[in-house]
């Protein structure tokens, strides 16, 4: 527990229950506040539907999109690309990261290149890739791969490098082969970092995907927003943004975080508070 | 905070490696942002035709570039006066009613080759 400044510690059970209640509902508060401001602004300022769509319009368009199946189509299209690009990125990032992590000289010589390409990862490749790959799934998959790869790569390399050498050496001394050492020492040891990399990478990948769809106009959620913009349908724009955010949070909290926690806990590896990011 | 300490070594930006790196970075940034502007200002006198040096009222000039202009360059030049067509070739642009201040500013643009009066 943190060191609270209250000199008198009243730990009645009601107080604790109240604390717990506040703790649970706290995350919802800003959303409620924003909602209230939104409703108030719509009422008082009476902006055009274009500038600030009313809450009801946004909810209505969400319902419409869901019913017409458009929402599902776009979400699935986006997620499919995310999945494809991410799997490629994770596999290549893992392989690359482990190889580089094991080989110090290689890591040092490749480092400048990795840093540079990391600096231009993602959307910066868009113009070049549109020229080479055209607009479509290949483009989006490349951009996601690019984003995810560098993150997983760096985290995997870091994780491998940080596995204390003594573990590896002791297993080798007892007669373990290269592959055996890899499986039992290095990979589990690097796992927390790898999983953090996967989790971070997917978050970045999702955002890069939306950016790519907006600018490159393939199909998916980004395109849905982009098309809506052409017709000045701000309600769809806002609806799309909210859905993007919800998917991002859902993906992170309910899919990736549990995977990370459970795997790390299973192996009894040290997980720390930074994971929450 | 037990033992008395020697006075701390004076650490200005110069003494640390990171400080030097920052100064180098700031210098590079300054050159990137202002290098060409400064160069333009330094070479301004060579650019402006002598007869235009002491213009007191609006002048009519020909802006000469030593390359074929992009739309980018046309747009920038047109901001200094009233665009009045080309003077023979595409890289010679006529500008009318260029005020003395705009003329001076025009003479400081690094990628302009010469500014001649319209004869």
């Amino acid at each position: 527990m943190s060191v609270q400044a209250s000199p008198i510690a009243t730990t009645s059970s009601t107080r604790r229950a109240l604390d717990r209640l506040t703790w649970t509902i706290a995350p919802g508060v800003p959303f409620v506040i924003v909602l209230l401001i939104w409703i108030a602004a719509t009422d008082i300022l009476q902006p055009s539907k274009e500038t600030l769509p009313p809450v009801s319009d946004v909810l209505w368009s969400i319902k419409e999109l869901a019913l017409s199946g458009q929402l599902a189509t776009n979400v699935v299209a986006s997620l499919y690309r995310l999945l494809l690009g991410s799997i490629l990125g994770i596999i290549t990032g893992l392989i690359g990261g482990v190889i580089v992590g094991l080989n110090r000289k290689l890591a040092e010589s490749l480092n400048p290149i990795v840093v540079f390409f990391n600096a231009i990862s993602g959307i910066v490749w868009l113009p070049l890739m549109i020229t080479w790959l055209g607009i479509g799934t290949a483009l989006a998959v490349f951009l996601i791969w690019n984003t995810v790869f560098f993150i997983v790569f760096q985290n995997a390399a870091l994780g491998v490098q940080l596995v204390p050498e003594v573990y590896e050496q002791s297993v080798r001394a007892l007669g373990g082969g290269r592959w055996h050492t890899m499986r039992t020492v290095i990979l589990p040891g690097a796992l927390p970092y790898i999983l953090t990399g996967v989790r971070t990478g997917l978050g970045f990948g999702w955002r890069a995907l939306i950016a790519a769809e907006l600018v490159g106009a393939a199909t998916g959620l980004g395109t849905m927003i982009f098309d809506a913009a052409e017709y000045h349908r701000s309600d769809i724009i806002v609806a799309g943004c909210l859905i993007i955010g919800v998917i991002a949070i859902a993906m992170d909290r309910w899919l990736l975080l549990p995977i990370e926690r459970r795997t790390v806990r299973r192996w009894g590896l040290v997980a720390d508070a930074e994971k929450e990011r | 905070m037990a033992q008395p300490q020697k006075p701390a070594k004076r650490r200005s930006l110069w003494t640390t490696a990171d400080g030097r790196r920052f100064i180098a970075g700031a210098a590079v940034l300054a050159v990137i942002l202002y290098g060409q502007t400064v160069y333009g200002m330094a070479t301004a006198s060579g650019r402006l035709d002598p007869s235009l040096r002491n213009a007191t009222g609006p002048s009519n000039v020909i802006v000469v570039l030593d390359f074929m202009p992009d739309r980018f360059h046309n747009e920038r030049v047109a901001q200094y006066g009233t665009f009045a067509g080309r003077d023979g070739s595409l890289n010679r642009m006529r500008l009318r009613y260029v005020s003395p201040e705009k003329l001076r500013a025009l003479s400081e643009v690094a990628w302009i080759s010469r500014i001649e009066p319209i004869k």
Binding site: I244, E274 | G25
Partner: protein, 278 residues
Amino acid sequence: MSVVGAEHVPAARPMPVVTGWAVAARQLRGVKILFPFIVLVAIWWAIQAVGNFPDRVLVSPQRVFDTMVLLVSRGVIAEYVSTSLKIIGIATAISIVIGVPIGFAVGANRYAARSLEGFLRFLQGVSGIAWLPLIIIWFGFTHTTTLAVVIYTLIVPIIFNTMIGARAIPEHYGLALRSLGASRLRLITDVYLPGALPSIVVGLRLGMGYGWRALIAAEMLVRQGGLGDLIFGARTSGQIDRIIGGMIIIGTLYLLIDRLLVQPIENLTIARWGVLRK
């Protein structure tokens, strides 16, 4: 343990003092950094020479270099680079001025911090670019729009990290100073600000990484100058040399800002005030 996001690569060792051996060592290190790039350019050149691709698909390194030199001499690069740098600069300044106080104000209270944390995560999930169409409707195709998107992207990590930094300060520091009679202002300047500063600077560095990318992306849509506009516009006219040249400039500029400006600040701050474990 720090999450390796986009930019967290171990910092280079500080430069050795100027002696004979050390000079040689420094030169060697410069070569070591450049060597992989030389190899890369050589591979690029080879691919282009052998593959004989049409100009609208791939051009040689020489051609890219020539084109870039040309564009620099014609003032194009200077202006586009200036636009991008100015926007990121202003966005950074505004984000710090607004974000740090918010981070402190909210970080002070456990419940407020937990409140805002979830909201910030949500905002981060909806990238600034997703809001871009709406912001274009508000501000049009102007630099204000680009600036708004970059600020949105930059400010979230700054607020986040300010909150973390503020919360990590052990409470007895502040209490000790208060008991000695320090005013509220003193408290801020002598305890909270220095204490949170390392974390804030880390947040700044992260934010600038995200912000730079958001800037390029926004410029591609808003098309009012800037490097994103440069490379996206070059695509329509099939000018691969400009696209590749622009990409190299984008990467190099970011590295310049990050390694020569922001990272030194981070190191100096940590050296001076930090108990931050990297």
